[in-house]
Chain length 417, copies 2
Amino acid sequence: MLEQMGRAAKQASWQISVLSSAEKNRALLAIADRLDAQSETILRANALDMADARQNGLSEALLDRLLLTPARLSAIAQDVRQVALLTDPVGQVIDGRLLDNGLKLERRRVPLGVVGVIYEARPNVTVDVASLCLKTGNAVILRGGKETHRTNSATVGVIQDALAACNLPKEAVQAIDNPDRALVAELLRLDQYVDMLIPRGGAALHKLCREQSTIPVITGGIGVCHIYADETIDFAQALKVIENAKIQRPSACNSLETLLVHQGIAPEFLAALSRHMHSVGVRLHADERAMPYLADGPATCVAVEEANYHDEWLSLDLNVRVVTGFDQAVEHIRIYGTQHSDAILTQSLSTAERFVREVDSSAVYVNASTRFTDGGQFGLGAEVAVSTQKLHARGPMGLEALTTYKWIGYGDNLVRG
Amino acid sequence: MLEQMGRAAKQASWQISVLSSAEKNRALLAIADRLDAQSETILRANALDMADARQNGLSEALLDRLLLTPARLSAIAQDVRQVALLTDPVGQVIDGRLLDNGLKLERRRVPLGVVGVIYEARPNVTVDVASLCLKTGNAVILRGGKETHRTNSATVGVIQDALAACNLPKEAVQAIDNPDRALVAELLRLDQYVDMLIPRGGAALHKLCREQSTIPVITGGIGVCHIYADETIDFAQALKVIENAKIQRPSACNSLETLLVHQGIAPEFLAALSRHMHSVGVRLHADERAMPYLADGPATCVAVEEANYHDEWLSLDLNVRVVTGFDQAVEHIRIYGTQHSDAILTQSLSTAERFVREVDSSAVYVNASTRFTDGGQFGLGAEVAVSTQKLHARGPMGLEALTTYKWIGYGDNLVRG
């Protein structure tokens, strides 16, 4: 079954890969309009998914992620109109020159072809990913979570109707709506048709894809993020950044999990930290060198376990470790980090630059919150995923990450000497 | 055992990732000098490998690939000096700007970390790959063919001595010199330490890596390349390009395997083709529509089988198929091509541009030989491999393909609003 879907996606990709930006934008606006016009169909499907989810005892947090309201759906349609406004990277000439051998060579940005996306409960991802893929001339095969399969089917149906109304192949956006898990394994081996696979979900999904996929995979999304506060910091300023990184949205992958503090400022700074974290409701997990300064402070404080350094809290919990200095801080980040987002707080320019060079993360910050790692914040206009691997794309992936390039050589019946 | 090697490589990569270009170039020149000075050690090891290879009945062609001579080794050392002269991509700022949220953001090019390379008999690859990785601040784990394991060990020993003499970690260049095949499987799963894997070998090796590796893989090197001759060509010019693409080096992956000819010129052009191919010793494999015009020509001609369209001849054999026109030519390339290098011969600008847009290959040529697909020809200065996949790097991979980037955000104790 997927074989056929893959072949159809590849065929469709050839058609949409050569569309002009204007043609693609017209289709995006048609999709947005139809999402508005057909909102009742989608909301009805969502109501059925929600009823099942409640019956299956999903948590309130998950139910909220699953829920579509008229306002949410309208915002989703509005996002599609925003994508239409973005600059189309396809066709851009990256570089080029006339070579000594006479060949006029250029590298031109082109669509990837067919993108596969595996994701979990959030129904907005369906429209997001479909619109970003269409904008970049790619076909897409979507595999959403089984909790939202009715919502996703209805949404993809609306998108396909809009494509057909624009005389575009509806196979450019397809969803695997059979919840059978075996189909994921099948999708992972569809390398003949699918050019890139993006898993958007937890660590287990990423591991599955890395181990079983024969298609190139972009993994990421797991963020054990650090801030290192060196001995030159201004306490009040530092606490402001730490608070933002920890509490602005604790469930986000770019939130702070471990604070590393230079031993020279530990006594005074940790006392201030305990007061501040108490005031914003953060629980501390202290290493043995931090504990003496935190045990009697107002913030809740327990002993950190080594395993805590490896995992995302995704909650109002924060590991605190006192380090002997810069080298131990960098060593800690190398051992426990996930190469997502890490920051230094310092007033020393040379220490800042050393941190930038030595910490090998997708995003490295100097005197700024780790929370900035986000396509919207970075001005990319959209975000397909956040990559923590090094090939192809790193950090927030915008439209450019959905393209590749081809080399084009023009000659006058030119032969190699 | 590989676990330890991987960990040491990662450690070494941190050290060499922050070296200046001048420091890396000094190490490269030290390697070149030591390859010259210690040439006897390497040649002695190569003589032992050659003796074994002869005893094992390797073909003359393979023996020649395996053989090092004083002149060849000296040329290899000279290549290292050339790498030292190339521009170092590491540290380059790709783009950057001051965002509205106050963040000063830049994308800086950085080394990948640890690169794994699996290759076959050619001992020059050892030095090539080691020098390109060192130039870009990457550590490398090399796995050469078992036929050259003594040569490779001796070569890597010399490289490591040179690194140590420059006070650099010798674990930056390591070779797996145990010929046990199980170690390849182990290498493929070393994702904790190895950031990118490059297999340089046949289709079976690429398939093995795609299926079993948990490390991102760059596959490529298989080239079923096409030329489409449309109805507007100048016969003499076209034959010149076809000859070059087929015979200049038939064993290369960018050589021509299948010629597609527009039906409108088939009678006259195929007669001329037969005469020309006969004069340069090329055997033709004709489809049923081409056969009537080729059967009685001077060039040897047999009926093509469908399987021939799928495989590389790598010899003086050429498939010839008559197509109804542009669309059938593109369809043929989509079905049978390997997205390596494909060319059109035409005098029509609009047909040329359609071909460039619709043929989805790493390199697409207009009125030029497919033989140009090569890092040296493209002016990249060096070539690590030729990628036919779409992620990360496509076509000839130069130094840039051995790098990734990191996002760097500078703030003045900046928080996300």
